[in-house]
Symmetry: C2
Subunit: 435 residues, 2 copies
């Protein structure tokens, strides 16, 4: 049983729940601006031996959005706070390659890696929503241009993480030398988009390189992930589609000199768990009954990245051209809507539930069966769990489903390491500048 | 005694000590990349009922620098980690107005204010060291140009903090409305340097406006502080100079419609405390004996912001023109060197000790006497304490000097509030966008 391939599990944290109306569920957390809420979520994640906590981000806010997107902690400060009150779970945060400087991103994640003893992960995104541009006095770049910048941005960040060799901090009391200057080098990057000298004012981190997460599904997104990502979050609705995506991504890796086993693909899934199928179904129905359709078409427009506000809510979703290749959500959702002859209201209900992610509703055994089936079919290497509400919707998964996965030898019973890199089974890399 | 004007105390944290060789002192902390070190410092600060912890920053690193500048945590992530393990002390971090975006700065400090329950403070600096520019592919702007940007940058940040009115998050379970859209507005800033729409994805913070710190001493720096700062850190070596600077700063405030009592001026001071004068002197001598002069002129050049590497170390400091008006340290230090006929070696020893700050060495009573004299002469409103090493050099001040200040009715025995704004005696402002 020890040799069995092991699942990896992440939890996608939105304080009021991943379901848009999660906060209305009896007993659910009411805020994503409350440290005690996210500390409780982190405690449950460690109780469940999860690989990592994952935070998305948005660089714009509108009052009608999902409550946890409208009013939230900034991801890096929130994870730094959790670093001080957790011991094992990985801490992954989103930071945009379009609206940041590589030096600042490299530095913040290096700091988080030190603060957490080696548990930092950076979700590199290019910011698909154009509204961020208005907060930075910019024109939002086109999709492919964003990815050209992202390719260089990721390289600069990883280069900065390599500027300090291990053992550079010597603290020699006899001579008074604190740092060995031979073990610190500038990066001297001069590229198309960035000119960055380095080094960071931060020594080599516990993981050597913090973990790189990505979620892109377009062709440039998959290329970036195949070249640089350690973990990929996928949007899925169908196992065969997921298998095809998994193969497509992993098959690109040898071309970049990488072993496909060094990348974990984790599809997002919202589990609605009951002790029985009927209880689970009743919970999902109760959650859906809380969804307010007043802003349905505006929210759908925002989620799909295209203006659909002119359609009647109860009209069938027509065959629409996609705005650009960046919108994995839009592609998956519109394909599903056409396949299943859904109305905009149906599509909104599905989007409201899990923001376009796969929803799985049932008793613990049946949920575990489905996850095992996907995992063993090599549709994925584990899952990014999107609890509909916190803490109860997450505790149900951890306390009812995880023990079954452990019993079946599919998931760890105890952490065997302390760093996220160790949880993922990845070696700690040497600095390429000193190799 | 209750009516007596009260001192404010901050502590300037560098993990290896403010003294360049502080880490070599027996028992001293060895790293500024160790969470347990900064947690211990924070515990001592709260035991001493300090107003705030203060973190400087640098956006470049060289192995020969002060150890805590060469290898350190990034300030905001470090303070966020401390937010989770402290309850009262204010958390102040430096962020540059030259190498950041106002939206990102506003957001990070708003998040820190939520995480800490109202203890965030932003030290707005323009980054005097030009080496940062090489890490951002930029030409370092001239001093006055940096301050023109800073004036607008601070206004944008404060404007973004005002975009949410109190009570905007309503969480109405009956209607499903989470946010009252009438209480959230965009900023729609369009200025010379920045175009920022807003709002932040963060509701109005516990302090309403996080505290603004500043340390500029040039004419534009004083103007910015007089208009916008709640706390100013001053570089001093002489009480009469400090009094003059205090009056100059406070007298500008009414011109901006501000009450001078709403700004606390805290000069930096390195206390070297012994149970007796002789013990204190022996400690300072021991610290100074650890100073390595190998890189003395390079370090002085960096600290003064001008190249002095061509001078012999034992030559008298000549009468030199100052590079530009931004270098408060250079001005104070070169004036002192000429006044006291110091050599470059003397100047290096002074700079190495406290990086240009005032050093006060003695028994607890005499240190308390001096601090009281400055405070009562209205040379300041309190002090920013720069312990030479941690934790002992700070614990000595807190356990031996603070009780005397408390006994004399000059400093609080207990916190009377929980926010930094309350510690400083400042009212919580209404949002100007909704007033």
């Amino acid at each position: 049983m020890n040799q069995r391939r092991q699942m990896h599990l992440g939890v996608f944290v939105l304080g009021t729940g991943n379901h848009i109306a999660g906060w209305r569920y009896p007993g659910a957390a009411q805020s994503f601006e409350d440290l005690s809420v996210v500390q409780e979520i982190a405690r449950i994640a460690e109780r469940g031996r999860f690989d990592l906590i994952f935070l998305g981000d948005n660089l714009a806010s509108e009052p009608g959005m999902h409550p946890s997107f409208a009013a939230r902690f900034e991801p890096l400060t929130m994870l730094a706070a959790l670093a001080a009150t957790t011991t094992h779970v990985g801490l992954g945060a989103t930071a945009s390659t379009t609206y940041n400087e590589p030096y600042n991103v490299a530095r913040a994640f290096a700091s988080l890696d030190h603060l957490s003893g080696g548990r930092a992960a950076w979700n590199a995104v290019t910011s698909s929503g154009g509204k961020a541009a208005d907060n930075f006095g910019r024109i939002h770049p086109e999709h492919d241009a964003r990815y050209e910048v992202a390719e260089e941005f990721v390289d600069v960040v990883r280069g900065l993480w390599d500027c300090w060799d291990d053992g550079a901090v010597i603290r020699d009391h006899a001579t008074g030398r604190y740092i060995d200057p031979a073990k610190v080098r500038p990066l001297n990057h001069e590229g198309r988009f960035f000119r960055v000298k380095g080094p960071l004012p931060t020594s080599r981190t516990p993981q050597g390189q913090p973990i790189i997460l990505q979620a892109g599904s377009s062709a440039p997104g998959l290329a970036l992930a195949a070249r640089t990502a350690d973990v990929v979050f996928a949007v899925v609705q169908d196992m065969e589609e997921a298998r095809a995506g998994y193969v497509a991504l992993k098959s690109r890796m040898p071309g970049f000199g990488r072993d496909p086993a060094t990348l974990a693909v984790l599809p997002g899934v919202m589990p609605v768990v009951g002790r029985t199928e009927a209880e689970a179904r009743a919970r999902l129905n109760l959650l859906q009954s809380f969804v307010n359709t007043d802003n349905a078409l505006a929210m759908l427009s925002s989620r799909l990245g295209m203006d659909v506000s002119g359609f009647p809510l109860d009209a069938l979703v027509p065959d629409l051209p996609l705005p650009d290749s960046s919108h994995g959500f839009a592609r998956v959702m519109l394909a599903k809507a056409r396949r299943e002859r859904m109305t905009w209201r149906d599509l909104f209900n599905l989007t409201g539930a899990a923001r376009g992610h796969w929803v799985i509703c049932g008793a613990p055994e049946s949920i575990a069966d489905t996850l095992q089936e996907w995992f063993e079919a090599e549709a994925c290497d584990g899952f990014n769990i999107l609890p509909p509400y916190f803490p109860g919707g997450f505790a149900d998964f951890v306390d009812l489903v995880v023990p079954i996965l452990q019993e079946r030898g599919l998931f760890r019973r105890e952490y065997s390491g302390t760093t996220l890199r160790e949880h993922l089974g990845l070696a700690r890399p040497r600095s390429r500048l000193f190799d």
